[in-house]
Symmetry: C2
Subunit: 168 residues, 2 copies
DNA sequence: CTTGTTACTATGAATTTCATAGCAATATGG
DNA sequence: CCATATTGCTATGAAATTCATAGTAACAAG
């Protein structure tokens, strides 16, 4: 009789549980990563996350319903939308950065090298992985960061795009 | 022909994708939350996350395989284990804190109030929600934080425990 | 009037999750 | 001894989700 009643995590006071009902899903986080990487179109997001159309459609719809994403028309006839982060979506940035830092430090072998480098434009130096700039010690904010993909990672993304295009 | 080949996210250079293959799952994050909250036994974790036994067993096994958790025998005959965070698991703390901050700020109505308060023992004052102490400005580390559950949240947890015990 | 582009929807098999039940090994109380 | 309680799972089958693959809708370009 191992049972749990009333598993309503969205009614808990715990902010982690609340957040997880929104972003507690691999595809959702990958979609958010792409939006932060300035991929705003369905195709780009699909290609770079490697998700099926349904996965991406479902996540974008849920993210919109949860208020992290807005659709913006960039073409009528045929109707086409771009997906952009709202303020709530933008506010997710520190979580992504913390996840990135943990991923770099604990989920990769050192010889693989980094995927990105971020420059802290306030001081003009590398920001490193932490929540404060490793060069000047100030807390880093999304607006103060300029990211650059390292060649190897850029090539990986280009290759994914080519591979995607080749199948359609 | 909308298809993607070779969706091997664990081979990408992207640290976010790498991290997500490990922690990109609601139950996994909730289990980690409990381990950080010093719930080390299967029952406690099950009761507080609201997961079924299989969900918890599967996550704990995967977390162990991925090196975030170790089992520690606390009783032979019958063999009983406690689950503890490894260094890799402990290093996940900043991600959880960022998620907590986002959850408090964007997934709850203000009148609900916080679940926890953290004191930064270095300065003895409230640490707030950010990656740096709101009182002294220093980056906060897990070892320098003392968390306390607010009464409402503590009651919620007590109630969950009682409800769980009542069914077995 | 054929081919290409973009953003999906449709379908069915495979996998995962969930709720519920049960069990094994021992401690505890009478 | 014997019944009941405790702890940490495993077993089972229905329900939901995911995945791979294919196809469609609405136009644009040549």
């Amino acid at each position: 009789m191992a049972k749990i009643k009333d598993n309503k995590t969205d009614q808990t006071l715990c902010p982690v549980a609340r957040a997880e009902t929104v972003v507690g899903d691999r595809w959702t986080v990958l979609v958010l990563r792409e939006l932060f990487a300035r991929s705003h179109r369905f195709e780009e997001i699909q290609a770079q996350t490697g998700g099926t159309p349904q996965m991406i459609t479902a996540r974008l719809k849920k993210l919109e319903a949860d208020g992290l994403v807005t659709r913006r028309i960039y073409n009528k006839h045929p109707l086409r939308h771009e997906y952009h982060l709202t303020e709530k979506g933008e506010a997710f940035f520190p979580v992504l950065m913390a996840l990135r830092a943990w991923g770099e430090a604990w989920c990769k072998s050192p010889k693989e090298g980094r995927a990105m480098t971020y420059t802290h434009v306030v001081c003009g130096k590398p920001a490193g992985l932490g929540p404060v700039c490793e060069s000047c010690g100030e807390p880093v904010r999304r607006a103060d960061m300029v990211g650059e993909r390292l060649p190897k990672y850029q090539k990986e993304r280009d290759a994914r795009w080519e591979a995607f295009k080749a199948t359609r």
